[in-house]
């Protein structure tokens, strides 16, 4: 419970858990089916617990996960979301798209350790007054069993789970001589691209001020090309700079690792950059080492440049790419997955502690947003205040909402470059959250649809999408 709610409770003079405590449940219902179904329960004089407070929406498709969070933040002990049965939606597909959102949102809540007895989804038609009464009874019983919404826990002194180390071979090592050759190819290629006018700017890496660290550079001169570098310190996903670079030049060359190309595909699919204005330079990658050790995303990677790049640079030389061939198959045994499994094996209460402690560290510096190649909104929803979507407070109130929103906005879109986790000064394992949601999207809806022509998973739907969790 937030301080705000605490003060509200203080205001109400409520004690901790008084005898006969009744939960407060907020029900988000659609106008056409469930609201009318609840009317039906009334006209037939059914009785059910007075625990629910109804909020009427045109459609389940209008219900943002943020509204569910808002209900919890305002002190609801439980939330019930209810709408039309699949196929009966007044707007045909509103509930089907919503079902996908809710599926992923619920998975996220579960992963973060929310007691799922507090969060329910149901289909109740306009004729199902009895079902409405039953659903409210069942949901009330479940929330009553879960008890009053707890305060953010104090995790003082808690050791936390021991996550398995990320293990894997990683890309082949590149010898010093090869690395030098590769770097020379890069510099020469970049200079040629500028000189020939094939690119007005080359987005690459150069030496930074800290040992071993390379930093981004938008090279526009021959001199800057001579400073280009490549290696284990090339941490940044330069796709993030693509749009900026294209403001400076009609065409930009972009140095990309194979793992970063997906992010670019996402940007192209979402109309943010035009493929024809980019010249992709793929380099043989030795893997990156953000803090000495090889990054988890590299452990299953061969390091070969992505064949879809326009130019492929290996120690052997420069070749034209753009074959359109598929990338090497992604490693199925992702090193992060074992860590996710370890978190999932914890009881919900411990998952809650684990994530709450991480979110408590969150400074709301929005570096995760800033480095994310797929975060490009002109104004982030976190900066909007009519209404205040995300509480501005850098505490349990705001941080939890922010981290959930961020994760939801990347569900079905995140391409796993792990930049957010790399830059997070609080070491929040955003990579695990993103990866978990990617796995959930794949598990429920099949491949995440990361090609330019495909629909993103969360704007798509199928009639037969799974819905075991819906009452």
């Amino acid at each position: 419970m937030s301080d705000l709610q605490t003060s509200a409770v203080r205001h109400a003079g409520a004690a901790a858990v008084p005898d006969g405590w009744q939960p407060q449940i907020v029900a988000l219902v659609c106008n056409w089916c469930t609201y009318t179904g609840a009317d039906m329960a009334g006209t037939t004089r059914l009785e059910y617990p007075a625990t629910v407070r109804m909020v009427r929406f045109p459609c389940t498709g209008r219900m943002s996960p943020l509204m569910i969070l808002r209900a919890f933040e305002q002190g609801a002990d439980g939330v019930l979301v209810s709408g039309c049965h699949p196929g009966d939606c007044h707007y045909v597909q509103g509930n089907l798209v919503a079902r996908r959102r809710f599926t992923i949102f619920r998975s996220l809540m579960d992963f973060l350790g929310i007691d799922l007895r507090r969060l329910h989804f149901a289909w109740v038609s306009a004729a199902e007054g009895h079902k409405w009464a039953r659903v409210v009874k069942d949901v009330s019983a479940a929330v009553t069993a879960a008890g009053p919404l707890p305060r953010p826990p104090a995790a003082d002194g808690w050791e936390g789970p021991a996550l398995p180390a990320a293990e894997g071979d990683g890309p082949e090592e590149i010898s010093a001589a090869d690395a030098e050759a590769l770097r020379d190819h890069l510099r020469r290629t970049a200079a040629e691209l500028l000189e020939s006018g094939r690119a007005g700017v080359v987005i690459g890496h150069r030496r930074g001020s800290l040992p071993g660290r390379l930093v981004p550079v938008m090279a526009a001169t021959a001199a800057e090309c001579r400073e280009l570098e490549w290696g284990e310190g090339a941490l940044n996903n330069l796709v993030t700079y693509a749009a900026t670079a294209l403001q400076r030049a009609e065409k930009a060359a972009l140095v990309v690792k194979a793992c970063e190309l997906h992010a670019l595909t996402g940007l192209i699919r979402e109309g943010q950059v035009a493929r024809e204005r980019l010249l992709l330079v793929g380099l043989q990658c030795p893997g990156v080492r953000p803090e000495g050790a090889l990054a988890a995303k590299c452990l299953g990677c061969s390091g070969a440049p992505h064949p879809a790049c326009d130019l492929l640079l290996t120690p052997a030389g420069v070749s034209e790419g753009g074959s359109g061939a598929a990338a090497p198959a992604a490693d199925t045994d992702d090193a992060r997955d074992r860590q996710i499994a370890a978190i999932e094996s914890l009881p919900a209460g411990e998952r809650w502690l684990y994530w709450q402690r991480q979110f408590a560290r969150c400074l709301r510096c929005y570096a995760c947003r800033a480095v994310c190649p797929l975060c490009y909104c002109s104004t982030c929803v976190a900066d909007k205040h009519r209404p205040q979507w995300v509480p501005t407070t850098i505490d349990a109130r705001g941080n939890g909402v922010w981290n959930v929103v961020r994760a939801m906005h990347l569900a079905g879109r995140c391409t796993g470059c792990d930049e957010c986790a790399r830059v997070c000064p609080a070491d929040i394992r955003l990579d695990l959250i993103n990866r978990k949601l990617a796995l959930e999207v794949e598990r429920h809806f099949g491949a995440a649809g990361l090609e330019p022509g495909e629909k993103a998973a969360l704007v798509d739907f199928r009639m037969e999408d799974p819905e075991e969790f819906i009452l």
């Binding site: 009427r56 459609c59 509204m67 808002r70 597909q93 929803v381």
Partner: protein, 671 residues
């Protein structure tokens, strides 16, 4: 913070029995912004409404909350009352404390607490409400009917007879559709052409119907009341106005072709009239089959190899230089009546269709039975022209067969098979008719009796079961099947096999893509609601008629056509439409142009708009929600990650405010 009036209704005892009205009133007074709080035994009564009206006027209220029954009942009532007092109707909010409270909670304390919070939430919500005015959409007073079968004909005539102009587009050279192919119609055995032809003529003569045969709808843009339709008129190479339908050209034409109107059972010439009663009564030159077609000149017929038809045509109606013509029409309503085809699928092939000439489908048999057909109504085997003695009819070929066909029932097969068997028995009294069926579905007026007539009076043998195989042996077709009632194998030597193939929508429902309306996985066009809006589509202004929507027989088709026409007429009867203003709007300054909103919108209401700088250079594309098409579901609003789309009447601010009132209660309720 607005000045809100809160009016709590007792509903006699209905609310007051379980909800302590006075407490709700007192509580409402503590909600910030609540300036006036009143209660009344029956707020919906005339004095109750007057109370609200007077309070609005007297206190200058700018928002109103009515705590009473479900908004489904009296929201319109109180909105009207507010409007009477000069308040925008969308500044009225209903707190449902009857259906959702007093009627379902017996404990007065809990029920009152819930009522209080519901009222508080409604106040919070209405404080953020904005006045909304109905969206006005002008209506072009003309309808487009796509398809000139019986559905399209009926719909076009109904609308035109009501005084509204109609554009009727038919792809084939003549009106008539599948019905004009039929011999007689069940269960009355009227001659199909006899009842259809007068309607076709009415269409052609109707001053308000612009008939475009041999034409296709290429593209449709716009929205309800304001569609723009692009129609391609294919060249007939015969000037309709000059052609006298004398037939001299066809007689002279050296190029015979299978006649598709007779399902290939006869031939026609490259220049032809599909059937004698065709409307318009004019010849058409089949460009693909004309001998001139092969001469590869850029304009088609410029280099002429054969001009016999033109030579014999006295009115000089033939014009080899005719070009496809694209015309545009603005219409307010569209009726889709594109009809059906019979599906020849795997099961039909297993039954020997396409392998043995004496296996035919239902429509082919219809042509054979038709007095104007290739055999002039005599039943003859295609292979040798002999009159068949034993004829096997197989129902559900492809239908009700999820594995190898379609899962649905084609609905007409039971009836037309009975008709076929009966007509066979009439025409060839010594013949024997066998029908393999799964169930008999004869749910129509006089239908069951008709089937019984076939069974009992005409001694048609009905065998319940599926046919496993049809093969030829000694010039006879062997039909193997199982009689599931007796459990015995059945083997029938047939002279002719007639398949009741599945109906499928014409071109697998391709028209859905052109019109941007929904179709199911089989291509049948989707109605807005299966029960309550069966002839509307989700795209306002587009209506459905006939077998394009689902398999159906002639009476149902005609009934639906008239229903669709009525819907269209209703729409065209307005000079302008008033649409609910609870629609989505995009903050275009902030829109990043990812267009995921466009992908989720069920109504195609989101459009791409260009943003240009002062010099006119294209900067980017942003989304725009067309208020004339948006239904206000809000899918786009939640899809937009930046929150740049909001829904009037269900705005983010309103929802958040409402949720903010549902937290733990202040001490007022801490009793």
């Amino acid at each position: 913070m607005a000045k809100v009036g809160v009016f709590v209704c007792h509903c006699g005892e209905n609310i007051a029995r379980n909800v302590k009205v006075q407490e709700v009133v007192d509580f409402a007074h503590e909600v910030p912004g609540a300036a006036v709080t009143e209660h009344y035994p029956y707020m919906c009564s005339a004095p109750g409404q007057q109370l609200v009206i007077d309070a609005i006027r007297e206190h200058g209220l700018d928002r109103v909350v009515i705590a009473a029954c479900s908004p489904q009942l009296h929201e319109p009532t109180f909105r009207a009352a507010a409007a009477q007092a000069g308040l925008n109707p969308h500044l009225v909010e209903i707190a449902n404390i009857r259906e959702h409270c007093s009627w379902v909670h017996r404990d007065p304390i809990a029920a009152s607490a819930k009522a209080c919070q519901t009222v508080a939430a409604a106040v919070e919500r209405v404080k953020r409400a904005k006045p909304l005015d109905p969206i006005e959409v002008p209506v072009t007073k003309r309808a487009l009917v796509i398809g000139g079968g019986v559905a399209g004909i009926r719909a076009a005539l109904d609308i035109a007879n009501s005084g509204q102009p109609v554009v009727l587009v038919e792809r084939q050279p003549s009106l008539g559709g599948n019905m004009s192919r039929l011999s007689e119609t069940f269960p009355t055995l009227d001659c199909s052409q006899c009842i259809l032809t007068p309607l076709m003529v009415q269409v052609s003569r109707h001053p308000l119907i612009e008939l475009m045969t041999y034409s296709e709808v290429e593209a449709v843009s716009g929205y309800v009341g304001n569609f723009t339709v692009r129609i391609t008129r294919k060249p007939r190479y015969v000037k309709i106005e000059d052609c006298t339908a004398c037939g001299d050209c066809a007689a002279a034409c050296p190029s015979p072709v299978a006649n598709e109107f007779d399902m290939g059972l006869s031939t026609r010439k490259a220049i032809y009239i599909p059937f004698p009663q065709a409307v318009p009564s004019t010849y058409t030159l089949d460009a693909d089959r004309c001998l001139n077609a092969n001469l590869q000149s850029p304009t088609g017929f410029r280099v002429l190899g054969c001009i016999r038809c033109a030579e014999v045509c006295k009115p000089r109606a033939i014009d080899f230089d005719m070009q496809p013509e694209v015309v545009e029409r603005r219409v307010g309503a569209i009726i889709v009546a594109t009809g059906y085809d019979l599906q020849i699928g795997q099961q039909a092939r297993e039954c020997g269709y396409g392998v043995y000439p004496d296996v035919m489908d239902g429509l082919e048999f219809e042509r054979m039975l038709s007095a104007s057909g290739p055999t002039e109504g005599e039943v003859r085997r295609p292979s040798d022209g002999k009159t068949p003695a034993d004829v096997v009819f197989i129902q559900c070929v492809g239908s009700r067969n999820p594995k190898h066909g379609v899962p649905y029932c084609s609905r007409i097969c039971c009836m037309y098979t009975a008709k076929h068997a009966l007509l066979l028995r009439h025409k060839v009294p010594e013949s024997r008719a066998f029908v393999f069926y799964m169930d008999i579905r004869a749910g129509g007026k006089g239908y069951e009796e008709f089937v019984h007539r076939a069974m009992e009076e005409e001694r048609v043998m009905y065998i319940r079961g599926r046919v496993s195989q049809v093969y030829e042996e000694d010039g006879k077709l062997k039909v193997l099947g199982v009689d599931t009632l007796s459990g015995k194998q059945v083997e029938i030597n047939a002279d002719l096999v007639v398949l009741a193939s599945a109906m499928e929508p014409t071109d697998h429902g391709m028209i859905a893509g052109t019109l941007r309306i929904a179709a199911d996985e089989h291509g049948f066009l989707k109605e807005a609601h299966p029960k309550l809006r069966p002839v509307e589509t989700l795209t306002a202004g587009i209506f459905l008629a006939g077998a394009a929507q689902a398999p159906k027989d002639i009476p149902d088709t005609v009934a639906q056509a008239s229903a669709a026409a009525a819907k269209g007429m209703e729409l065209l009867s307005h000079d302008a439409l008033e649409r609910d203003p609870t629609t989505a709007s995009v903050n275009q300054t902030a829109c990043a142009g990812c267009f995921e909103c466009l992908q989720v919108c069920p109504y195609g209401a989101i459009e791409r708009q260009e943003v240009r700088d002062r010099q006119g250079n294209l900067q980017r594309y942003v989304a725009w929600s067309n208020p004339a098409m948006c239904e206000g579901c809000g899918l786009c609003a939640v899809t937009c990650r930046g929150g740049f789309i909001d829904v009037a009447g269900y705005s983010d601010e309103q929802v958040f405010a409402q949720l903010g009132a549902l937290g733990p209660l202040p001490e007022v309720l801490g009793r």
